[in-house]
């Protein structure tokens, strides 16, 4: 009995592994692309250099500071997680590549903050493209404090969507940037403009209330990004956040066979569309079942066929009854 039980379990595990394996290569490949330039020796050097900063700037460092003269209350909010940093876009870089001379010594130089490299120092072309979109965006015209790249992007944490791949993780990361403000009184107030009539700070509209027309609101927050509806559809993700009049409210944009999800959130996976088990938009199915989008064309045809057969059968039966009755009535009269 036990042997049989084990066999069944092993068989089930085997199938599960096979199914899982079909997802792994994409993520593994992306990892290789960045690490290809990196030799193990070089990586070792980077990690060692960064550990000097992490000696203070981590949970460990806050608990067991390497020096007695540190202001722990100031250090605590500056703790970073080495694991998260190592897995981020900039995880293969040394801290000092962005944090220049002033930070290598402690106490840090008084004006060290000014010398933190701006994004455009290394990403000139990207910044040029993105800044134009940001300038056209609602945040450029209305908010009080200027939006910079790091208002949304944490260079120590973020991982770009094309590397993250898993849509649930992309959604969690990208929505967090927006919700940090739009779901927090404190953060929102820092940027909120003054209300024209009352000349007090504009109150933060409740994010769930604004989107009340969207059923299963919380389910959507976990399955799609704010930017899916709040940016114009372009070849690559646009940074232009449009106002509420221009935001997407057509359900069928996502909930139909020609779902825009495959060209937006799932664009990095869409190349791998294999119509698994015959489903349309089957890349979505690994993380969501989306009403109207992830249907099965053959099953649908089968079911429509069953209804046609049923209707035809009933129609024939009914007609036969009418004919039979006419025949019977003629016979009785004749």
């Amino acid at each position: 009995m036990r042997a049989f039980h084990n066999t069944v379990l092993r068989f089930a595990a085997c199938i599960a592994m096979m199914l899982l394996a079909s997802f792994v290569p994409a993520a593994a490949l992306a990892q290789e692309k960045t690490s290809a330039l990196m030799t193990p020796e070089l990586l070792e050097k980077v990690r060692r250099a960064n550990n000097e900063c992490f000696a203070c700037h981590s949970e460990e460092g806050v608990k067991k500071p390497p020096r007695a003269d540190l202001d722990i209350t100031k250090l605590r909010p500056l703790a970073h997680d080495p694991k998260v940093f190592n897995g981020s876009n900039h995880g293969l870089m040394e801290c000092t590549q962005c944090h220049g001379q002033g930070y290598t010594e402690f106490p840090h130089a008084a004006d060290a903050r000014e010398s933190i490299s701006a994004c455009e120092e290394c990403h000139a072309a990207k910044v040029l493209r993105i800044e134009k979109q940001l300038d056209a965006s609602v945040h450029a015209t209305r908010v009080k404090d200027k939006f910079t790249c790091s208002t949304c992007h944490d260079p120590h944490v973020d991982l770009i969507a094309s590397t993250l791949i898993d849509p649930r993780k992309i959604v969690a990361q990208d929505n967090q940037h927006c919700l940090d403000c739009h779901d927090s009184e404190l953060e929102f107030a820092k940027f909120a403009p003054d209300d024209e009539q009352t000349s007090t700070k504009k109150k933060r509209p409740d994010i769930d209330k604004i989107h009340e027309w969207l059923p299963n609101t919380r389910v959507h927050w976990q399955a799609v990004r704010c930017v899916e509806c709040h940016t114009p559809a372009t070849k690559t993700l646009s940074h232009e956040i449009v106002n509420k009049e221009k935001a997407e409210r057509q359900c069928l944009t996502c909930h139909s066979a020609s779902s825009s999800l495959t060209t937006r959130l799932y664009r990095h996976l869409a190349k791998e569309e294999q119509e698994r088990l015959g489903f349309a938009n089957s890349v979505i199915l690994a993380s969501s079942y989306v009403l109207g989008a992830t249907r099965h064309p053959w099953l649908d045809r089968l079911i429509v066929g069953a209804f046609a057969a049923m209707l035809l059968g009933l129609l024939i039966h009914g007609l036969a009854r009418i004919v039979a009755r006419i025949v019977r009535r003629k016979k009785n009269h004749g």
């Binding site: 079909s22 079911i303 049923m310 209707l311 009933l314 036969a320 039979a324």
Partner: protein, 204 residues
């Protein structure tokens, strides 16, 4: 034997027509949602979602009422085919639909107080009410609160099996409904059985 017999109590009739109306609404909105397509607008998507959710929860409530009322009144016994001779009566009923009805043969079964249903009806209704309905209602309720769906299954989202179950059981219910409406016309006259389901009186 009486000309007319009072067979169907008010609660059954009220439940039956409530159920029928809800299934029509759920079928219409459900089809519209499943086949959502910008080129064939049927019921507007978000309206369909709202109507479908409300009707679905009402159907679940109506079903709970049906089950409880069946236990309390003992009406559940009607759904159990009674021996002896279940199989021969089943065959006789099927033969009547296939041949006898065209020859004008009399019904093999006449509803009585103790036996509303012929064997075929009892078996079909039992399966629909106690197998299909729980399936469609349960999958529907999970669909309404996807957080209760399994997280992942075989590398697919856990909502997929729930949604499939819901879709297939819905198709089965609607196929049943078509045949049920049609077989409703096979009474003494075309309208006789519909009339009975409104008035409660069966005309012998």
């Amino acid at each position: 034997m009486a000309e007319r017999e009072y067979l169907i109590s008010p609660w059954i009739r009220i439940w039956h027509w409530t159920n029928a109306a809800l299934i029509l609404v759920l079928g219409t909105t459900g089809i519209s949602l499943h086949f959502a397509d910008p080129n064939l607008p049927f019921v507007e998507f978000s309206l369909a979602v709202r109507v479908h959710n409300i009707a679905g929860v009402t159907l679940a409530a109506a079903y709970a009422f049906f089950v409880i009322a069946n236990i309390v009144t003992g009406n559940w016994w009607q759904f159990v085919p009674k021996p002896p001779g279940i199989v021969p009566r089943l065959v006789a009923q099927a033969r009547w639909y296939a041949f006898g009805i065209f020859r004008g043969d009399p019904h093999p079964h006449s509803p009585t107080k103790d036996e509303h249903f012929n064997v075929l009806q009892a078996l079909t209704y039992w399966s629909v009410m106690y197998l299909l309905m729980p399936l469609i209602i349960l999958s529907g309720l999970i669909y309404l609160y996807p957080q209760f769906a399994p997280d992942k299954m075989f590398g697919f989202d856990g909502l997929l099996p729930i949604a499939m179950l819901h879709y297939l059981s819905a198709a089965a219910v609607l196929l049943f409904m078509l045949s049920h409406i049609y077989l409703g016309t096979t009474g003494k006259t075309v309208g006789a059985m519909f009339k009975m389901m409104f008035t409660g009186w069966h005309e012998h």
